[in-house]
């Protein structure tokens, strides 16, 4: 600790007792000594009456002065201690504010770094990709006749690779964008959002039969745009990993997570092996091979970032070939 030491403690009962003790000792001493002195100095009984009276008045004066001195000292000591305590509080407050300011600055610097990184990604990594893609296309357009099927196959591989890298860059940007900007809390009806997102998927893939069981009017507090991204990722995953099932079922509703009301989205699809669950929310980490379920591994990382930004929690549970279930909250535990 570098700050000032704590101010001394003052116990009022002890201080009062000390004053009474000093008073008692002085009074006893006065009574004992003054009687001896009077006896020694004055032999004339006629004088004794007024000497004793004078002695009494003197006693009152001396002890009054003594009490005045003792009480004044005590009061000034109390004042001094109060001042010390106040100074300490001000100092602690200032130190706390300095620390908050420092942390805020660090956070801002980190955010700016992330922003400029995302910016560089969006500007600079896309140009070479466009070139790979464009010149492969130009080769096919201009030299089609000279290329045998094998050569055209290689070109297709180049274009597939650049398309995949394009998806990775877009995913990285989506991840960094997901939590940029202010968190704008309002009441968000997740049931409506999830229904809409499932309908959109059904329109894109009309051949699939998916039973959606959605608890109506699940309303949470959070940032509308960010929470839409959360459910979009979870709904999309549920849709994707239940493909190939004859009877796919996707459920959405409320549950409990560590004693707090939470929201879940689950499917009865491929699931995953819980042994690998630690990698679930890491960017670009996937629990399925590309030939099983294609993807870039950015969705759940985005989900977790958004939920953490809200102060909430998200967990994933699954069993292989029996489905996966994701549960999340959107508020810190204390207030929720």
């Amino acid at each position: 600790m570098t700050g000032p030491t704590r101010p001394g403690q003052l116990r009022t009962s002890t201080a009062a007792l000390r004053i009474v003790l000093v008073y008692t000792i002085v009074a006893i001493a006065w009574i004992a000594l003054s009687d001896l002195a009077v006896d020694a100095l004055f032999n004339n009984p006629a004088h004794l009456v007024w000497v004793n009276m004078l002695k009494g008045w003197l006693f009152v004066l001396v002890t009054a002065g003594l009490l005045y001195g003792l009480i004044t000292r005590l009061v000034s000591r109390i004042k001094q201690l109060a001042a010390e305590r106040e100074a300490l509080e001000i100092e602690q407050q200032a130190r706390l504010e300095r620390r908050v300011a420092q942390r805020t600055a660090e956070l801002q610097a980190a955010n700016e770094e992330l922003n400029s990184f995302a910016y560089a990604v969006s500007h600079d990594l896309r140009a070479p990709l466009r070139a790979m893609n464009g010149f492969s296309e130009a080769l096919i357009e201009d030299h089609h006749a000279e290329l045998d099927p094998a050569a055209r196959g290689h070109l297709d591989q180049i274009r597939a690779a650049s398309a995949r890298m394009h998806a990775l860059i877009d995913g990285l940007l989506a991840l960094s964008r997901a939590t940029r900007g202010d968190l704008d809390r309002s009441r968000v009806n997740l049931s409506e959002i999830v229904s809409r997102q499932l309908e959109d998927l059904q329109i894109q893939e009309p051949e699939r039969t998916v039973e959606a069981i959605i608890e109506p009017n699940v309303v949470v507090e959070g940032d509308q745009r960010m929470l839409e991204a959360v459910t979009a990722n979870l709904v999309h995953n549920a849709w994707k990993y239940s493909a190939g099932l004859e009877r796919a079922v996707i459920r959405f509703g409320t549950t409990q997570l560590d004693g707090q009301t939470a929201v879940y989205i689950e499917d009865n699809g491929a699931g995953f092996d819980m042994r690998h669950a630690a990698a679930l929310f890491k960017p670009f980490q996937r629990l399925h091979r590309q030939d099983e379920f294609p993807g870039i591994g950015i969705g759940l990382a985005t989900v977790q970032r958004i939920i953490h930004r809200h102060g909430g929690d998200v967990i994933g549970e699954a069993r292989r070939n029996e489905g996966a279930r994701f549960v999340f909250t959107t508020c810190p535990r204390e207030s929720g």
Binding site: A118, H123, N133
Partner: protein, 150 residues
């Protein structure tokens, strides 16, 4: 198409080649001048430095301006163009790899006539550049030379 010039401000040689290819394929036969950084773009348009001979040359029909440019960014170039009486009404299209909402907003705030993100997929890119070329070189009617401000 009338005999008007298109100015392409692009620092990436491959993007330049692909843009020129797409414009040629779209049948845009106009003269296309290319400059490769922000300062060159300003020199070209104001007839200064290496482009001193262009001081009284007519302005291009449109400028396709990238944002991420060496020396002077596209947004800085745009701000200077809008501040100068000679170029304040010059059609400027921001053609960039960025799809950042902030770049879009700042482009329009600085007086861009249009904001076009370059698609990564080449077929889309070619389509986009072709329609830009046809629109700005043939359909759009620019102010031939901006009246002097004062």
């Amino acid at each position: 198409m009338r005999n008007r010039t298109l100015l392409l401000v692009e620092d990436d040689a491959q993007d330049e080649a692909l843009t020129l290819r797409a414009l040629a394929k779209a049948g845009v036969g106009n003269r296309i001048d290319v400059v490769r950084d922000g300062q060159q773009a300003l020199d070209y348009l104001f007839g200064e430095g290496e482009f001193a001979e262009r001081v009284s040359a007519s302005l291009p029909a449109v400028v396709l301006l990238d944002i991420g440019l060496p020396k002077l960014s596209g947004l800085d170039v745009l701000t200077r163009l809008r501040a100068h009486p000679r170029t304040r009404l010059l059609p400027v299209v921001i053609l960039t790899s960025s799809d950042e909402p902030e770049d879009l907003l700042r482009s329009y705030e600085n007086g861009a006539n249009s904001f076009v993100p370059k698609p990564v997929d080449f077929a889309e890119f070619a389509q986009t550049v072709a329609s830009l070329g046809v629109y700005w070189m043939a359909t759009n009617d620019p102010v031939e030379s901006a009246p002097d401000g004062c």
